[in-house]
Symmetry: C2
Subunit: 318 residues, 2 copies
């Protein structure tokens, strides 16, 4: 009988203010579950998808989990021909987080499927290769294989994508008392549309220089544990000003977060979720509640709150 694995991959927050396309972190919850087993039929089969309200493709080429698992198979076969010829993979994808939320939903499915496939094949791939496979899955969702969601979903922690070509990622230190509150309002922003909104923007150095200063300060703050500096560094002049207009109530929510004591606040990924940093659990929860109230009062939106630590763990067998 085939062994069926069950993998959890965490939701993630990308960009983190000044770090468009290069910074992301893993949340402790929510996350997606992918079940997987080896199959005699070559290739990837998606047996079922739950929790997506029928919105996601079951075609393994168009589904991020399918694309990620297929890329793991391909890479594994390059390393060891015995892994390729007869085995395929069957996947069950259980969405446990909303689509188009800014929380790296497609990235979590990609990461879970990549790690599941790797586990079934006996772990032929390195974490870096798993990130690359998960990026291939992401290509199906956004058209662009960016890594700022899948890298932390695979590896946990806070990840810097130093370079896409050649591809290099760096794990950044996580201060022990860092906490995050993420509020997901019940409205949708398409990642692909959000990327289109910014990809034609152009910026002068006057606008770019503050982001250079802030992302550098953000990394220094992670290394030194200076959470005040970390908060001041959450200041994005490039993307937040463009995307904020597509999130109903954003200004009110950010103001509410800062008024409630948030160290810093910005858009999670391409939105509409909004995150804030705090220095203890109680503050993170209080700030999150203030953000929820502001979404309700300023835009009439219900929302979900996730608050807690950055997850040190990435995608894993559960």
């Amino acid at each position: 009988m085939n062994r069926r694995l069950r993998i959890f991959a965490p939701a993630t927050v990308a960009n983190l203010g000044p770090g468009f396309d290069v910074l992301g972190l893993a949340l402790t919850s929510p996350g997606d579950i992918v079940e997987a087993e080896l199959s005699d039929r070559p290739g990837v089969e998606i047996v079922d998808v739950t929790g997506d309200q029928g919105l996601l493709s079951r075609d393994p080429v168009e589904n991020v989990a399918g694309g990620a698992a297929a890329d793991v198979l391909r890479r594994a076969a390059q390393k060891d021909a015995r892994l390729s010829s007869h085995s395929g993979i069957r996947l069950w994808v259980h969405k446990q987080m909303p689509l188009a939320s800014g929380l790296g939903s497609s990235g979590a499915s990609s990461a879970a499927a990549a790690v599941a496939a790797n586990e079934l094949l006996g772990r032929p791939l390195s974490p870096l290769e798993l990130v690359l496979s998960a990026m291939e899955g992401e290509r199906a969702a956004s058209g662009t294989p960016h890594a700022d969601n899948v890298a932390p979903s695979v590896m946990g922690g806070i990840i810097l994508v130093r370079s896409y070509d050649p591809f290099e990622i760096v794990s950044l230190p996580v201060p022990t008392n860092l906490r995050i509150a993420v509020v997901h309002p019940h409205c949708k922003v398409s990642t692909a549309e959000a990327r289109t909104l910014v990809k034609n923007c152009s910026y002068g150095l006057d606008t770019i220089v503050p982001n250079l200063g802030n992302i550098a300060a953000f990394v220094m703050a992670l290394c030194s544990g200076d959470l005040g500096l970390l908060g001041r560094a959450i200041d994005d002049r490039l993307v937040e000003p463009v995307r904020a207009a597509s999130i109903p109530g954003f200004d009110a929510v950010k103001n509410a977060a800062l008024a409630a004591g948030a160290l810093g606040c910005s858009i999670a990924g391409s939105g509409p979720s909004v995150f804030a940093f705090a220095s203890d659990d109680e503050s993170a929860h209080r700030i999150g509640r203030a953000m929820q109230s502001a979404f309700k009062s300023s835009a009439g939106l219900e929302s979900d709150l996730h608050s807690g630590q950055v997850s040190a763990l990435g995608a894993r067998v559960v």
Copy 2:
């Protein structure tokens, strides 16, 4: 009899690849000397300037050292009225490094004059305030009060300017085995002209994102001591491509540095000096000699080499 102080302020390398206007470091040499004494005549008087081949103004309003010292007097008087009413400052500026070299020549004179004035007045200003005063001096040279030269010249080490408004600087850690080679070819690039060249450029996110990744990686590398990562992070897509054309032989010099084992190589400030990082003294010297040879063979330029550690010390009494 008046006490006359003698202050040395180090040359600096700004930008450091990905960090346009926000990163800079102090060299152990060269540097400028400013002598200063209190005077009964209010305001700042520049008694003499040596080593400038007559190029710098002796008018204290137009000379960076005069501007910096005057700003120290102004700030000191705001703190303590007794410091203002009767005292002025007389300065002797001894240029010991070439003008318009990319080595922060005007910044070193500004820093030395600011520290000299502060010492004479009994140290009323903090290091941050001294940086602000030295920036006011710099305004006379470049029209823009940027801090990436004066901050390391005042404070030593490697400095990040997180933000200009509000003004905030952060000292970054310096790995113990980091070495730098800086080669100054005997040609000139005006800081003001170099800034004009880039200030009208505009950039899409595709170009900006690599700099965000690289400056973040540069800071992480300083914190972790990973000099390989530090070298890979010296990759500037914003300013180097624009300014390289104004430095004769730049491509050959950079290639020579990398071929000789440099960790990374880019333009010092607005050029024409070029810097490279290395992991020991012998390598730094060898790399510097290779860069000198390349300036000579590719552009017929003689040059000066400075190689060694990053200076932990900034402007100081000598």
